[in-house]
């Protein structure tokens, strides 16, 4: 609570000095960045005292200072801070990949594949059907012919099934949970991420056939293959370099961690490959071929990335538009409920199919509700291909993500507590 009072004083102090400033954009961004770190960190700490994950606090802080409320972090400032989010995604993806141990993949790979397949399939069918049924009420499908309804329903569902590796990693890092529910959730989220990128490309190609976009917008099949295949190649090469560094040099890991993430994100952008997958593969290769030094790098990366993660989630909170949720709630609520039900049913089916442990069947679904950056990214791709309808679809996605982004971490925390893989104390004392 003391920190919140200090923050209010800091905010008032900044408001007092604002008229004295020269108004340079860079300095203003730096101020906002610093305040966002302190603000989100404090509200995150406060959240733990009312038994919420820190990440919900970060989101709430972002929402409070973002354009929807105080507007201290305005849209131009958020745009200036976009590289921070890119860096955070790179760090999160690398850490997520590094969490995958080769032995575990060998042992539980088939189980994870079955769980992921069942969960994604059931969720996908459920959401696509709901969108098709609700098409009269959806602005981007109102009055459209059936082939277009089918195409957009598939496209919508292919984005809506996605999870949030960032939220999953953040909660696992916060709680230090390493049990079977935690690891299954992470495994499913990571595998689903790769699968969704592939299936989204297919859905987009199908949608372009059923509902041709105006002009020549869109992405070719070869481009999609390169985005995925190239990401694996580039990621493996980057991972091999990191592994060699860990084997032979092993020093200054704090700085090295930041450089790896920066370099990975930049090289993925330059090579036009999928950033998340590139860093995921790099993390996996570095962890499993790094001569047992991967844990030190992970720790260094968590430490170096702590302020970046805080800002990443705060920025995600600042992007939430409560007005959009309020406007679209009659449409959003059914889709959110169907998605959650699909995830639950899919994981039950998957757990039965893979003969998973009872606690996996019981609790894993709760860790799969979260949505954040990947979903926003994919919806932006849709908006790029279908400028008008895609933008309307994106607004609906943002409203949906706002709910899943808030409820997801709470549910995942609950699942880790109920499965006894984490304690309230571990949440209070953990990482960022």
């Amino acid at each position: 609570m003391r920190r919140v009072v200090v923050l209010i004083l800091l905010y008032l102090l900044m408001q007092a000095v604002l008229p004295l400033g020269e108004g340079t954009a860079a300095a203003l961004v730096l101020m906002a960045f610093g305040f966002l770190i302190l603000g989100a960190y404090s509200v995150g700490e406060l959240a733990t005292t009312i038994k919420l994950p820190k990440i919900v606090g970060y989101l709430a802080a972002g929402l409070a200072v973002g354009p929807a409320a105080l507007n201290f972090v305005s849209t131009p400032v958020m745009n200036q801070l976009a590289p921070v989010s890119e860096l955070a995604i790179a760090l999160i993806a690398f850490l997520a990949g590094a969490e995958l141990q080769l032995d575990e993949v060998r042992k539980r790979g088939v189980l994870l594949l079955k769980m992921m397949t069942a969960e994604l399939t059931v969720g996908f069918i459920g959401i696509a059907t709901t969108v098709a049924v609700l098409h009269r009420f959806l602005p981007f499908l109102n009055g459209a012919p059936w082939p277009e309804i089918l195409g957009f329903s598939i496209l919508f569902a292919s984005v809506a099934v996605v999870h949030s590796p960032a939220v999953t990693m953040a909660l696992l890092s916060e709680s230090g949970a390493k049990g079977v529910v935690a690891r299954t959730t992470l495994g499913v989220v990571l595998l689903a991420d790769v699968a969704v990128v592939l299936s989204f490309s297919g859905a987009l190609a199908l949608a372009r056939v059923l509902a041709p976009p105006s002009g020549n917008a869109g992405v070719g099949v070869l481009t999609v293959f390169w985005e995925i295949g190239g990401a694996i190649l580039v990621g493996a090469a980057l991972g091999a370099i990191v592994a060699m560094y860990l084997r032979f040099i092993r020093r200054e890991l704090f700085i090295f961690a930041i450089l790896v993430a920066f370099f990975g994100a930049e090289i993925a952008s330059v090579m036009h490959v999928e950033t998340l997958l590139t860093l995921l593969v790099a993390g996996f290769v570095a962890e499993n071929w790094g001569g047992g030094e991967g844990e030190q790098l992970r720790h260094a990366m968590e430490r170096a990335g702590a302020p970046i993660f805080v800002v990443f989630f705060a920025l995600a909170g600042a992007k939430i538009k409560p007005s959009a949720v309020l406007e679209l709630w009659p449409l959003v609520i059914p889709i959110v409920v169907v998605r959650a039900a699909g995830i639950w049913a899919g994981t039950q089916l998957g757990a039965w199919w893979a003969k998973a442990e009872p606690q996996v069947a019981k609790y894993t679904w709760m860790g799969l509700i979260s949505q954040a950056g990947v979903a926003i990214g994919l919806s932006s791709v849709v908006a790029g291909v279908y400028p008008e309808r895609g933008e309307e679809m994106r607004t609906l996605f943002l409203a949906m993500i706002a709910i899943n982004e808030t409820l997801g971490p709470i549910l995942f925390r609950l699942s880790l507590l109920r499965s006894k893989e984490a304690t309230p104390e571990s949440f209070r004392g953990g990482g960022h």
Binding site: R2, R3, V6, L7, L9, L10, L13, M14, V17, L18, P19, L20, G21, E22, G23, T24, A26, A27, L28, V29, L30, M31, A32, F33, G34, F35, L36, I37, L38, Y41, S42, Y245, I249, R251, E252, F254, I255, F256, L259, F262, F263, E266, I267, S269, V270, E302, R303, A304, A306, P307, V310, G431, H432
Partner: protein
């Protein structure tokens, strides 16, 4: 290839290469690493190869401000009052005399030289002259760190050097802070533009208020992982606020550092966090300084560089020699300890960047060039200069320690007991934990408890 990618590759390669070579170079050749980043920046920048265009270089402005703020905070964290009060008056006197004489002589010579060389009007010459005078005061501690890394005994001359380095940094930062307040542009939105005195008060106020609020914010926090977040946010916010107000981020964060180190119980942990990022920040600052540097062959600028380096070096050497003699301390300190203060490094670069990024100040490129040239010329040799300055006075003490083992540092000295001229109070004894020094990074609550 994008400019950002090139920069990342360069930073990564240079950093790793330097790191691999650093220990070896430092140990074998007593070379301080750093200036090569400056050269690298120049080579990559728009003036030479143009690999990184000027627009990309300009976009790194916030990183420069953050780096400047980080260095200011690191300097401020050295001024732990319980430690300062244990330093003798003579040590402080010598350090302050050396700082003020350097400021006065270098500033005075350049005040005369700038109009004489036709670089600026007589009226405006005071601003760059004072800035370069302040920059001249700053010396790098890197040479001392490398030269003394394997030593256990701490001789009075080492304490003098460490105190002088701290006082130099303080005088330099306060001078530029006041200078920036003095020549501050009137803000567009303010109903009444603050006076220079008010700007100076605002600068210090940002530091005091920021330091107090961050102290309250940090509370009892001791976990390094959490301090990274809090301290990172604090430095970014304070540097951003100072930059937004167009006052000195160095002075504001220096004050924050002083407040934090004297109020926080976790000062050792705070220092750990700061130290972890200080060298990388310095390298990035050097690289960015190199990118934005426009080297010139204009004879007037070369004359300024020559005049600056010559005046600064002579003043450091002779001012210390004469002041030591006048204070009757030659026997303990020798006459050449001023040589150890010739090297310039991170603070110099930070101050030069802080001056050059302000378009309203005159001949920013000349000030920037002179400061960076001095870093290029002196930093590599900083450790050698320290050794050359200390050997004549330290070696006989070593021999004495060998012959009289009870004097050796391996035998625990009594805390607070003096070993050199206790009656005159000239120097306090070098205790096992180096408690007499301003610069030791590992002081903690032990100092406060004594």
């Amino acid at each position: 290839m994008s400019a950002s990618l090139v920069l990342i590759i360069v930073v990564a390669t240079a950093y790793l290469a330097t790191h691999l070579l650093y220990e070896w170079l430092a140990k074998r050749l007593l070379i301080v690493s750093g200036a090569e980043y400056l050269v690298l920046g120049i080579l990559l920048g728009p003036q030479v190869t143009g690999v990184i265009p000027i627009e990309a270089a300009n976009s790194f402005g916030p990183i420069i401000v953050l780096g400047i703020g980080w260095i200011g905070l690191t300097v401020g964290m050295q001024f732990y009052l319980p430690r300062l009060v244990r330093i003798t008056g003579l040590t402080f006197r010598l350090a302050v005399i050396e700082s003020l004489v350097t400021l006065g002589v270098v500033g005075g010579v350049l005040w005369w030289a700038f109009p004489a060389l036709g670089l600026t009007s007589e009226f405006w010459a005071i601003v760059p002259a004072l800035a370069l005078g302040a920059i001249a005061v700053a010396s790098t501690p890197a040479g001392l760190d490398i030269a003394l890394r394997d030593r256990k005994r701490r001789e009075p001359v080492v304490n003098q050097l460490e105190t002088s380095l701290g006082v130099n940094a303080f005088v330099a930062i306060v001078t530029v802070g006041i200078l920036f307040a003095w020549v501050h542009r009137a803000p567009v939105n303010a109903s009444r533009p603050p006076t220079p005195t008010e700007w100076a008060v605002i600068t210090v106020g940002v530091g005091v208020l920021g330091g107090t609020l961050f102290h309250l914010f940090l509370g009892e926090e001791r976990k390094v992982d959490r301090l990274v977040v809090s301290l990172g946010g604090a430095v970014i916010l304070a540097s951003g606020t100072a930059a937004y107000l167009n006052v000195s981020p160095l002075l504001a964060t220096l004050v924050i550092g002083i407040v934090l180190v004297n109020t926080s119980r976790g000062r050792a942990e705070l220092r750990t966090v700061l130290a972890g990022a200080e060298r990388p920040f310095y390298y990035v600052l050097l690289l960015l300084a190199g990118l934005s540097w426009r080297p010139t062959t204009s004879w007037t600028v070369l004359a300024v560089i020559a005049l600056y380096v010559f005046t600064r070096t002579s003043t450091k050497v002779y001012a210390t020699r004469w002041s030591t003699r006048w204070n009757g301390a030659t026997a303990q300190l020798g006459g050449d300890w001023g040589k150890a203060l010739i090297g310039q490094g991170r603070l110099t670069v930070a101050m030069a960047l802080d001056y050059a990024r302000r378009p309203e100040l005159p001949i920013g490129d000349v000030v920037f060039t002179a400061a960076l040239a001095s870093v290029l010329l002196t930093e590599f040799a900083a450790a050698r200069l320290v050794r050359a300055a200390l050997l004549p006075i330290v070696e006989p003490l070593r021999d004495l320690a060998h012959r009289l083992p009870w004097l050796d540092a391996e035998q625990e000295p009594v805390p607070g007991e003096t070993s050199v001229s206790p009656e005159s109070g000239e120097f306090i004894a070098p205790t096992a934990d180096g408690a007499s020094t301003l610069m030791r990074p590992d002081d903690d609550d032990s100092g406060a408890k004594r």
